[in-house]
């Protein structure tokens, strides 16, 4: 099995890619996809640490399972918001949804 730090490097790279997507992409759906990538990077970290430091305990494993729940909830609500913004403003660009700006 490859050492722990290799998994951490892959997770860090995925997290950075996701960060770039969240910061730089214009389209709201692409931003949400990048958030999913970041969540996955976190999950790789959780599972890798669980495997290397406490494989006989259920905690890390269960935590990773809860991240799935969060990701599913986040995707559902996020996409619903984007669709509803698209209905009213004909746009999926987050910057253009500025109805609440003072």
């Amino acid at each position: 099995m490859p050492p722990l730090w290799m998994y951490l490097v892959v997770a860090a790279a995925l997290f950075s890619i996701g960060t770039f997507g969240v910061l730089a992409r214009r389209n709201g759906i692409a931003v949400l996809m990048s958030v999913e990538l970041m969540l996955n990077a976190v999950n790789i970290n959780l599972v890798a640490f669980w495997r290397f430091t406490a494989p006989m305990e259920v905690n890390g494993f269960a935590f990773a399972a809860f991240v799935f729940v969060i990701a599913a909830a986040e995707a559902a609500v996020g996409l619903a918001i984007i669709i509803s913004i698209y209905r009213t403003r004909r746009s999926v660009i987050p910057e253009e949804a500025d109805a609440l700006r003072g």
Binding site: P3, A12, A13, E36, N43, I44, V47, A62, S84
Partner: protein, 174 residues
């Protein structure tokens, strides 16, 4: 720990490549439908990484939840919002954000991973891992995760209702 070249290591490199290449393709995809396909590819790679970490349950759930449900949801959203034609500006301030993301990566690797974990790599503390049954027992037992489990189900219900209410076309009920 000695680095040995075996099936698991090769699988690790293959799946890492799939994950990162998919991730890169997601954030650079001009065509968002293709973006969702690359997203699925990347998440598939992550599920392969779980396999190398001897967590087959998480790998299967990853495919089921992410590829079977979340990514399909994304394709629906892409088609419903006609994001495919929305291509004038792909990025907001790409250069500075790229520099930021690369800096973040360098910071994590040089600042945290290399000194703390790569300096003296430890092998896994044991070759045995818990079974899927243990996760099930822990999720349902009183001194385990039963309250987080219930809260998670509540969260999912709330998210589902919220998504339906937000995305509704009209205000009338049925």
């Amino acid at each position: 720990m000695e680095f040995e070249f075996n099936v698991v290591t090769v699988a690790f490199f293959v799946f890492s490549f799939i994950t990162l290449a998919g991730g890169y393709a997601v954030v650079t995809a001009k065509n968002l439908f293709r973006g969702t396909i690359w997203l699925m590819m990347s998440l598939f790679g992550v599920s392969g990484l779980y396999l190398t970490l001897s967590a087959p349950f998480l790998a299967a759930v990853q495919i089921l939840v992410y590829i079977g449900a979340i990514a399909i949801l994304f394709t629906f959203a892409v088609m419903l919002t006609r994001s495919l034609t929305n291509l004038r500006d792909l990025y907001v301030r790409p250069q500075i954000n790229l520099v930021g993301a690369v800096l973040l990566f360098v910071l994590i690797v040089v600042g945290v991973i290399l000194p703390l974990f790569a300096a003296n790599p430890q092998p896994p503390v044991s070759d045995e891992v818990i079974r899927t049954v243990d996760l099930g027992v822990a999720l349902a037992s009183g001194n385990g995760f039963v309250i987080p489990f219930e809260v998670a189900s509540l969260l999912l219900t709330a998210a589902m209702i919220g998504a339906i209410v937000i995305a509704r076309d009209t205000d009338d009920l049925v």
